[in-house]
């Protein structure tokens, strides 16, 4: 967004001459209103409950915000999908249904030599979050036998978004422990998993983090590394639940990483639409993974290469 009135053209400047101060007063008055996309999401009743209630309270009390949302809604021209967009969307859906219908590949070992680029660092906070069903993974879509054959060839090679093994990070609950590590049961329990992870024993790290997630279902780093170690063992579908939970904890230092790896896991599990949505959000939001997320969106959108 530009900062008015600097980008007003000559006609606008002339038309609004003498009213600049009044517009400035209105801008000041509403400078801290909730952003438009939030207001619109609240109006559509698609926000989490607490935010929904808060935004609706604002909308009820702010005639300006209400008028803004209503006027846009009434004045917009919701142009339908044109033929090109409709076909593009169909191609994308067909490609994913083809991938979902194809036989599931076996576990694919992670090869650090293939991938480059992402670094993870920083310390984290252990936040409280309800474990949302680590065993509730999907076993794959049930495709009825009479389902329509996809429009794109099933043998078209799928894009696979690359990822790098992140470094171990510990949250403040561990980092701010004032006693000896051996006196903290959590650190004691965590150590074998961390050691296996650092030693590159990914299968053992996966099993140890999985066991830890049963004992410490609220520890964001356990959730995160449970997901990551599953990914490192090629178990992308199973990685979704712990990564989802890690992202949902809402710990700022963790959220972006968890969302990135969740998006990669989704893409590698064949859920391109959901993955693309997350990559797109990471791309537009900026941050550590923005460049890779933007590249991932381009990769997903690229037409499949011919075999």
């Amino acid at each position: 967004m530009s900062t008015p009135p600097e980008d007003w053209d000559q006609d606008e400047r002339q038309a609004l001459a003498g009213l600049e101060d009044q517009f400035e007063a209105i801008r000041r008055r509403h400078a801290m209103d909730p952003p438009l996309d939030l207001l619109q999401a609240a109006r559509a009743d698609i926000l989490p409950a607490a935010e929904q209630a808060r935004l609706m309270t604002h909308l009820e009390s702010s005639e300006w915000s209400r008028a803004l949302v209503d006027s846009i809604e009434e004045g917009s021209d919701a142009a339908p999908l044109d033929d090109v967009a409709q076909q593009r969307l169909w191609t994308r859906i067909a490609r994913e249904t083809a991938a979902a219908s194809a036989p599931a590949p076996g576990p694919r070992p992670w090869n650090p030599a293939v991938f480059g680029g992402l670094a993870a660092a920083a310390s984290l906070i252990i936040a409280v979050m309800v474990w949302r069903g680590g065993s509730g993974e999907h076993t794959g879509p049930v495709v009825p036998p009479d389902a329509v054959a996809p429009a794109t060839p099933a043998e078209a090679p799928r894009v696979e978004i690359a990822f790098e093994k992140p470094e171990i990070k510990l949250g403040p609950a561990a980092l701010t422990w004032r006693g000896a590590p051996s006196e903290n049961p959590y650190l004691v329990d965590l150590k074998p998993a961390v050691d296996a992870y650092r030693a590159g024993d990914d299968p053992r790290a996966r099993d140890l983090f999985a066991a830890l997630s049963m004992r410490y279902p609220q520890a964001v780093e356990v959730l995160f590394f449970s997901g990551v170690t599953l990914m490192l063992n090629g178990e992308f579908e199973r990685a979704l639940a712990p990564l989802n939970a890690a992202a949902a904890v809402g710990e700022p230092a963790f959220t972006e990483d968890a969302t990135w790896y969740l998006a990669v896991a989704e893409q590698r599990a064949g859920k391109d639409a959901s993955a693309r949505s997350r990559f797109s959000a990471l791309c537009s939001r900026g941050g550590r993974h923005a460049a890779d997320a933007c590249a991932a969106v381009r990769q997903i959108d690229a037409p499949p290469a011919r075999p």
């Binding site: 002339q14 509403h30 935004l55 300006w64 008028a67 006027s71 009434e74 999908l81 959901s274 797109s280």
Partner: protein, 155 residues
């Protein structure tokens, strides 16, 4: 009915609904795609009479999931606390923008977005599904009304 037929039959309704709740075409396309992928997975258990309502429910649920990941509370909390510190000025121009019967919703929206939210014409066009030329026309019309209402003479 085959999956592609169902897609052709319902895609516009699903996309329009997605657009109406997200206001962004790229996101609306993502949600539409998600909904049809879900339909493909459940094709055997979904009765055609449940469509497109079933698809719209998927879109709404996906939109909720999307927001759940966006740290909404944090964004709003900061703004809300600052908002309280802003002392309101008198009505005048704001009152006219909100209540003038001469302004149609599209004019009101263009004025609010352009001169208060600070959007460019192309941003407004994208937000409202209009062309930049249309936005410029709506703004010119609104400014004409504004000058008359507030007795501002053109230089």
């Amino acid at each position: 009915m085959e999956f592609e037929d169902l897609y052709r039959q319902h895609v516009q309704a699903v996309f329009r609904f997605a657009l109406s709740i997200t206001r962004r075409r790229d996101v609306a396309e993502d949600l539409t795609s998600d909904a049809f992928l879900a339909l493909h997975r459940e094709l055997g258990s979904i009765d055609a009479s449940q469509l497109p309502a079933w698809l719209l429910t998927v879109v709404r649920n996906r939109a909720r999931d999307m927001w759940r990941h966006q740290l909404v509370e944090e964004r709003y909390a900061v703004r809300e606390s600052r908002e309280l510190a802003m002392a309101p000025d008198g009505p005048g121009l704001e009152d006219w923008i909100l209540r003038s019967a001469d302004l149609k919703p599209v004019h009101r929206a263009c004025v609010m977005l352009r001169y208060v939210s600070g959007m460019t014409r192309s941003e407004i066009a994208a937000e409202m599904g209009l062309s930049e030329t249309q936005v410029k026309g709506h703004l010119q019309y609104a400014l004409t009304l504004l000058r008359k209402a507030h007795g501002v003479r053109q230089a």
